[in-house]
């Protein structure tokens, strides 16, 4: 029902060259994984450290810039469970959802301390935390994106291929907007 994890905190206008520098562009998943956050100041260890289960919590316009899908794939390979940002860049948000990774927007998201425990309740469309105490609304996902996440990505949704990753959205009853 819910995705809970320790937050990886990122700022505003974090672009895809910072999230995944082009020198890590590769068809080899080990190289793609090693490039995760390799131009983001303070995340020098992210290419090798264990980030399984983490939830990326970011500011405005997260993922702006290039369309290189290796950047989105690196999140999947690093074991990130979900992304929540004040707002998401268009191509990047499509790329991660197309791979089956939930990416949602929370416009009222405040600045959080590193490693804050957060919970994304996709069924009710809420972002919650205990310390600090938060219970904030998410922007409802379009029914198309709900269906894509439930299928495990765009290709399985269209019947054109298998899920790219572990299907974090597949077993989750999703928030469909409305009261």
């Amino acid at each position: 029902m819910k995705i809970a994890g320790r937050a990886l905190i990122m700022g505003d206008n974090v672009n895809t060259d910072v999230l995944h520098p082009s020198r890590f562009f590769s068809l080899d998943d080990r190289t793609v994984r090693a490039g995760f956050l390799q131009a983001a100041a303070g995340f020098e260890q992210a290419g090798t450290s264990d980030l399984t289960g983490r939830v990326v919590v970011a500011g405005d316009n997260f993922g702006c810039g290039s369309s290189r899908e290796t950047g989105a794939r690196a999140f999947l390979l690093a074991g990130v469970q979900a992304i929540v940002a004040r707002s998401l860049a268009r191509i990047f948000s499509r790329n991660v959802r197309n791979l089956g990774l939930p990416a949602v927007e929370c416009p009222s998201l405040p600045a959080l301390a590193p490693d804050t425990e957060v919970e994304i309740d996709l069924a009710r469309g809420r972002l919650r935390a205990a310390a600090p105490a938060l219970d904030l609304p998410l922007v409802p996902l379009d029914p198309f994106w709900l269906a894509v996440l439930e299928a495990g990505g765009l290709l399985p949704f269209l019947g054109l291929g298998e899920p790219a990753g572990p299907r974090p959205g597949a077993s989750l009853p999703m928030y469909r907007g409305g009261p």
Partner: protein
């Protein structure tokens, strides 16, 4: 517009011509048939294995506009392998290979008869938006979206609302598309146009040169826009007549001459008097700090890059040659020049522009993406400063995480090459060098005067 329909923006008009029903009940996303799909060696390589597993053919190989521009030629053994797989895929799928090694895919698109107004064009690269200067819907996307498109002939998109941008006034000789593109981003902000279309109306006194329009549309994505589209006008008609000749578009690639309805609804409007602007630079790191070039901290510069789909056209190289003719690149600066396509390269050879630039000390590389994406031939090291005519100044984009990138027009970039520091190009222009530039970027008088310092 019929009485039953609401007035439409240009983007709405293009997409609603062909859009079918919502992809799922209640969704704002529609299935939209695509006229042309742009691809290149890097991002298409990411789809090949999944494509093979799907066990189907491409819906229409003739509508694949596939270049080789990232790893062309390759600079590592792995990239050689990626390029080889990509070329084998093209051959196996009977995709036209006439664009391979001819230059940057986005530049090839606007030079090609297959790209026409009114079309829906999607590409496996964010700068596909540049083709919107030709009055079409052009939008970039990631590899999984492109894979689905190759198999189905459709993309799944919402129809974006539009921000209308009117250009007015008279364009000064020392002002270019890059300055206007930066001014738009300065006003909208980096994410100010996410999920929106930018609709440009050229109402300037003499009209914006097409080459400047390409740069403006190219950088629509830097404000987060889905697409940027110029309203078709006489300048576009002249461009297409010259480009396509009497024969016009290829059969099956006719497009449509569409305009927005006069009373179309816009979510926001900007009016930019181009006569009141000064040369701008984007300060290093991102596009959130855009300032007059003369007000930037006058950092000393180690590299100037004139190239990319945003700043490697004939106009860009001609203005650089005008600034550099009879001068030398400052000591301690390397000037890297990468014509955006072979057509641009050949035109610059014919006109003596490359003579002038190389005589001034420029290093000229083959037409490809090169230094812009930190791929090869012009990367920067820790602590180095680069003034670039490309479209992104992001941390690590052109090499070291500790290098600094300023974005500027090629006039401003060439001025930095001469002085060795970031400055307003008017500081080094004597008032004669750019006279008449927008009418005739590289007049015969410049060609015969030679490049020797």
């Amino acid at each position: 517009m019929t009485p039953e329909t609401l007035p439409e923006t240009l983007t709405e008009k293009i997409l609603r011509r062909s859009a079918a029903a919502p992809i799922v009940t209640g969704s704002e996303l529609l299935r939209i048939p695509v006229d042309l799909v742009l691809g290149h060696d890097a991002t298409i390589a990411l789809v090949i294995e999944r494509f093979k597993r799907a066990g189907r053919r491409i819906w229409d190989p003739s509508r694949c506009f596939f270049a080789a521009d990232h790893f062309a030629p390759p600079s590592t053994p792995e990239r050689a392998d990626i390029l080889r797989r990509y070329l084998a895929f093209i051959a196996d799928q009977s995709i036209p290979d006439d664009l391979v090694y001819r230059g940057i895919s986005h530049q090839l698109l606007i030079e090609d008869r297959r790209c026409q107004p009114g079309m829906v064009i999607c590409g496996a690269d964010s700068h596909t938006v540049m083709a919107g200067a030709l009055g079409c819907f052009a939008c970039g996307m990631g590899s999984t979206d492109i894979l689905a498109l190759l198999l189905t002939g459709e993309v799944i998109l919402p129809i974006p609302e539009s921000i209308r941008i009117d250009f007015e006034g008279a364009l000064p000789e020392w002002l270019f598309g890059k300055d206007l593109a930066l001014e738009i981003i300065r006003q909208l902000g980096e994410g100010g146009a996410v999920d929106r279309a930018l609709e440009y109306h050229d109402r300037t006194r003499h009209g914006l040169p097409m080459e400047s329009r390409f740069t403006i549309a190219n950088m629509a994505v830097e404000a987060g826009a889905t697409n940027g589209v110029f309203v078709p006008d006489d300048a576009l008609r002249r461009y297409l007549t010259e480009r396509d000749g009497a024969s016009g578009p290829l059969p099956g690639f006719e497009g449509a001459w569409l305009e927005p309805d006069p009373d179309a609804g816009y979510v926001r409007r900007l009016c930019i008097d181009v006569g009141e602007l000064c040369p701008l630079v984007a300060l290093p790191g991102d596009l959130s700090r855009i300032v007059p070039a003369g007000e930037a901290e006058p950092s000393s510069v180690q590299q100037v890059f004139i190239g990319s789909c945003a700043g490697g056209r004939l106009e860009d190289l001609a203005v650089a040659a005008r600034v550099l003719r009879g001068r030398r690149v400052a000591p301690g600066v390397r000037l890297v020049v990468t014509p955006a396509s072979q057509a641009v390269f050949h035109a610059c050879v014919r006109n003596g522009i490359l003579d002038v630039l190389t005589a001034a000390g420029a290093l000229v590389t083959n037409s490809s993406c090169g230094a812009c994406g930190g791929i090869d031939k012009g990367l920067i090291g820790a602590g180095e400063v680069c003034v670039s005519t490309s479209n992104r100044n992001f941390r690590g984009r052109m090499g070291s995480n500790d290098g600094l990138i300023y974005l500027a027009s090629s006039a401003t970039a060439a001025a930095a090459a001469v002085t060795g520091r970031v400055c307003d190009p008017r500081e080094v222009l004597d008032g004669q060098r750019l006279r008449g530039f927008h009418r005739e970027p590289w007049p015969a008088a410049e060609r015969t005067s030679g490049g020797a310092a």
